[in-house]
């Protein structure tokens, strides 16, 4: 019985890759990393808790 051989994984699928990727002209990933998650301005939305004063 034979079975199909899966293709070797050469690089991550872009959907599963980190946020940014640098590829060479052959499409190989040469660098990658996450993108900063945007956060609200520091302190925005903070409300004093009981006992803060």
């Amino acid at each position: 019985m034979t079975s199909e051989n899966p293709q070797p994984a050469t690089e991550p699928d872009l959907d599963e890759a980190p946020g940014w990727v640098v590829r060479d002209p052959d499409g190989r990933v040469v660098a990658s990393g996450p993108v900063s998650v945007a956060l609200p301005a520091s302190g925005a939305g903070d409300t004093p808790s009981e006992g803060d004063e």
Partner: protein, 143 residues
């Protein structure tokens, strides 16, 4: 780290607080443009008050690249991810290396809304190489 343009912060605050006439909600001011928003890339850091210095050279169009499709809208306070459906991609043909530090999300007219620096910046992209922001690579959240 602040990640909303400070002018946009004021728009959001004014629209959602009693800063209008007789304590009504205030005005957002000029609405954002109705066409696809853009992601621009910069060689210096962006801040709350200003975008970084935009990339230049063959392979990069001033103003940035339009997002390919609508992102899934926030619901119950969930985050919004960008880009939807396909990666944003820039191939450096400038003749020299790009040094990418930050990004800005703007409307189609260049009005800035959100920004951040890339983790691992500066990201060096040699001439001939391609820089991509993956599908959902940017997460925007208010919680």
């Amino acid at each position: 780290m602040a990640a909303i343009d400070q002018a946009m912060v004021s728009k959001m605050l004014n629209q959602t607080t009693p800063t209008g006439t007789s304590g009504a909600p205030g005005s957002f001011g000029t609405a954002l443009a109705g066409s696809a928003m853009k992601v621009r890339l910069n060689s210096t850091a962006s801040s709350a008050s200003a975008a970084g210095t935009e990339l230049t050279g063959t392979g990069y169009t001033a103003g940035g690249q339009s997002v390919p499709a609508a992102s899934t809208a926030s619901s119950s306070g969930s985050s919004v991810t960008v880009p939807a459906s396909s990666a944003l991609s820039w191939t450096n043909g400038s003749g020299g290396a790009w040094s990418i530090v930050s990004w800005d999300l703007t409307d189609s007219a260049g009005v800035r809304t959100w920004y951040a620096n890339f983790n691992g910046q500066p990201v060096s992209v040699a001439n001939g190489n391609t820089f991509q922001i993956a599908v959902g690579g940017i997460t925007i959240s208010l919680s």
